[in-house]
């Protein structure tokens, strides 16, 4: 069963994780990704989540009934044990990272924006997956698809992805529905889609667009990236609020508007969760102050569950 996220506080991360604010001080996106991934990998060996990675989940001993075509004979020759080689097929994952590049993602109250966070997350995933020898692609969108890089596993792919991620956003509003639709059309082979967006948009047709992806047999993981201020709305001074996407201005007294805002936001989040739950999509809601390792662990956990589910 696909699992959904909850907004309840997590028992982890432990304090050893790299603080997001410190991480965002690193200018190079690649370096950020490496820092997260390597930190995580070091941690994995010590962590109780040992074996959650793609590679480790795909090695298993031969049992009767298994297809002998997938038996790893080279390993058998060395260890005299039967291991099913099936993992190669399974680990040749085709993952497309769908990153929201719209103006609403430029908001950030911590000195960096949601976009920075999402990009770092995307870069981390790309780096991690490339390390795992998986094919990674990228689709950046704003009001339209800004760039699409098909999933490949080859030399220079990671560099290409990182370069694309570092490029400046082009559009203004968020066209997530169009982007999902186009992704479903362009990617013919089944694979994994990781969507990173704030989903602060009209969700009326989100269900159908996500449904396209799922209908193609794809796995979809959604990271909903939000700023802590967007969650809490803890401004203390009345001010003219300017919509980052539309440029609309609104005088708002936070004290008055807070409760109504939080209520409406929660409704919206619930709607997104409901849609994803209905489609069997795992949603991880991340605030930009949460460590990226959490997102990575969420991702790995999801993968593990998917694999286990499939295996069952």
């Amino acid at each position: 069963m696909p699992s959904s996220s909850s907004s309840a506080p997590r028992p982890y991360p432990p304090p050893s994780y790299i603080d997001s604010q410190s991480l965002m001080q690193i200018k190079s996106l690649e370096l950020r990704a490496k820092s997260v991934v390597e930190g995580l990998m070091n941690g994995i060996h010590r962590s109780p989540y040992h074996g959650f990675s793609v590679e480790f989940t795909e090695y298993r001993q031969y049992s009767s009934g298994d297809d002998l075509r997938y038996l790893d004979w080279r390993l058998y020759a060395r260890s005299d044990r039967y291991y099913i080689k099936r993992f190669e097929d399974e680990t040749n994952l085709r993952c497309h990272l769908i990153v929201d590049n719209s103006r609403s993602m430029t908001y950030g109250s911590l000195g960096y924006s949601k976009e920075d966070y999402a990009k770092t997350l995307a870069a981390t995933l790309a780096y991690f997956l490339t390390q795992q020898r998986d094919a990674v692609g990228l689709l950046r969108f704003s009001d339209k698809v800004d760039e699409f890089i098909p999933a490949r596993f080859r030399v220079g792919q990671l560099r290409r992805l990182l370069t694309s991620l570092e490029s400046a956003p082009e559009g203004t509003s968020s066209g997530i529905n169009a982007a999902l639709e186009e992704a479903a059309e362009r990617v013919r082979k089944r694979g994994l889609f990781v969507v990173m967006s704030d989903f602060l948009t009209n969700v009326d047709i989100l269900q159908s667009r996500l449904g396209y992806l799922r209908a193609g047999g794809n796995e979809v993981v959604v990271f909903q990236v939000l700023d802590p201020a967007e969650m809490s709305f803890d401004f203390d001074q009345p001010a003219v609020f300017l919509d980052a996407e539309t440029g609309q201005e609104l005088f708002v007294d936070p004290e008055q508007a807070r409760s109504q805002y939080q209520r409406r936001l929660q409704e919206h989040l619930d709607q997104v969760s409901a849609i994803c739950d209905g489609l069997g999509i795992y949603v991880s809601r991340l605030t930009t102050d949460s460590p990226l390792e959490v997102a990575m662990l969420d991702f790995l956990e999801t993968r593990l569950r998917v694999t286990q589910t499939r295996r069952q």
């Binding site: 203390d236 009345p238 001010a239 003219v240 609104l250 005088f251 008055q256």
Partner: protein, 711 residues
Amino acid sequence: MSFLTPLYLLAGLAVTLPIVFHLIRRTPQGRQVFGSLMFLEQSPPRMTKRSRLDNLLLLLLRGLALCLLAFAFARPFFRSHQESLAQEDVGRRVAILIDTSASMSHTDQWERAVEEVNELLNSVSASDSVSLIAFDQQANSLISFEDWQELPASNRQSTAEEKLSELKPTQRRTELGNALIYAADLLAQNSERKISRRQIVVVSDFQEGSHWEVLRGYEWPEGVEIEPRIIELENALTNATAHVISATNTADKDLRLRVQSSKNAQSETFDLQWDRDQLESLEASISDISPSKTRVYVPPGQSKVVRAPEIPDGLAQHRLLLTGDDVEFDNVSYVAPVAPGNVQILYFGDPDASGPEGLSFFVEPIFPSTSTRQVTITDWDSLDAVPDVNDPAITLTLIGTNCDEEQIHWLRDSIQSGRPAIFVATSVEQGMQIYDLLEISPSPVTEITPEDYAMIGEVDLTHPALSPFDDPRYADFTKVRFYGFRSFDPNSFPDARALLSFEDGEPFLMEIGNRQLILMTAGWGRDESDLAVWSKFVPLMNGLLEHLENRVEEQPQLYVGDSLTPALLKSPHSEIWFQEPEDAPIRVTNDSPFVLEKAGIGKFAESEADLNEGNAHEIAINLHPDESRIDLVAFESLEAAGLPISSATIALLAEEENPESSRQLMNRELESRQRLWQWLLLAALIVLILESVISGSMQRRSGRSVFSTQS
């Protein structure tokens, strides 16, 4: 309670401002970019319960301060019955100045001025205080403020009109500045009565030559207004006047005059003519071919110096008439002819010395006859008989030789009788005779013969005879050389004054006592000194002659209004008798000067008897030239000098009579006395300080909390 300026109360509406400010306290402090506004709605600015409670005190204080300020500006006052009664006494204090100078005598100007003053007197109310002041060269108070107050209200106007009717324009010049200062000082004085307004009303022709310039240095008292009532001349009248430049004598055919024309003159041609008898015959006497008439062309605003026409024989009164202009009061100029004086010098000289080495060679050239004097030099030896020692015809004796007994006797009497003498010591023996003449014990006289020559070392330039040389250009006495002179014992003449001394201190020229004797220790013979060819010698000797003779060559120009004293007339006497034209003679001393009132030919003499016997000197008294400058003064200049001149006179007077205006006036007085606004301002200030203190402390507290929130 009432308000002087109730409109200021409207400013009290500003009290709404703090309320509005408190209401909009939560207006946007800035702009905030936000991810998406899809969950937000516009918030109307409104007061939260919390902010209202927190700032209520500040709101109250700010509102109170504004109300107090508005209240103070509205100038409140309490109108009590007692004070209202007191205010009934409030009135104006008006000094009415009426010009009585000579220029006011033209045509009907004086009548118009009197009419104007009467009109002013009609307009004053019972509470007003008026002073009537006539002015020309000096201000003369006809009715003072005190007199006015003492008079019964019903008699005030009639008394003033009576005083006015006795008044006539004089021939004096105008001193507007002094008159204004006099009136302003009067008005600036404190009064027991309450005064709503201090005002000087000037009824005058405001002529250009009215001498207002003294006001430039005068600090005009605050609150004293000037209201000019201009008695204007009819449009652009031509006025010309002729002034004698210098006094002259009857023989002088070249009497020079300055003819001046007014700026607005329409005519440029004027005639000058001696008045033979009376003015009535003027018409008949004027003809273009008359030798006693001169035609002169003077453009407007300019002046020209011309020769007066020839003085006809037998002219008793020297009145020079100018015709051709429209203004008559200044058309007559008086000229006092001065008869040339006869100077007879009795010379006691060496009859044998005829060359330049003797004194007599140069005596006549030293004392030449001039236009003002006829000099006769008579040698004693040429006289047939011994002259009377008291003969007034002999002016001076000049002694330059050894005199015989008869001569010494005569001279001694002459000196004792006060006749001046010049004693020239040409030798030691002759010099010794001075002791005989003065009847004093003789002292030795020494002949001094310097090695090369002696020069003048000291000069007493303070002496009247030498004072003309008191100028760096003429004060050089080093050019003349003396080859010998006589030294007298200085103790012989204790009352002597050395006018010129040689370089070794020996006197050359001495004035001895009050006996009118001049002693020269060297002669002007060419073998004794270079005096005869010295450029200063003739002026020096003539100066001595004038000094000894007490003769005044030229009398000063006298104008109506001048204070006449013997000193002014350069008279040696401290007392003279003076007779104004058509007036009785009066005694004038330096301590009791006589102010000239009439233009014409005045007479003065040393005694009343001389005056009656016809031995008097004549002197011309004319109108002051400035009085002829009758163009209207530039009021801009007066205002620029700081005079508060108001023009809307009639409107103001009408306003004064309005009951509403008087009520306003009363209110103003009440308010200025109570001065409640000052207390209100003080209260507002205290409230504002309190507000600042409270606001500051609240700000500090809220500042800390904001900081902690942000951190």
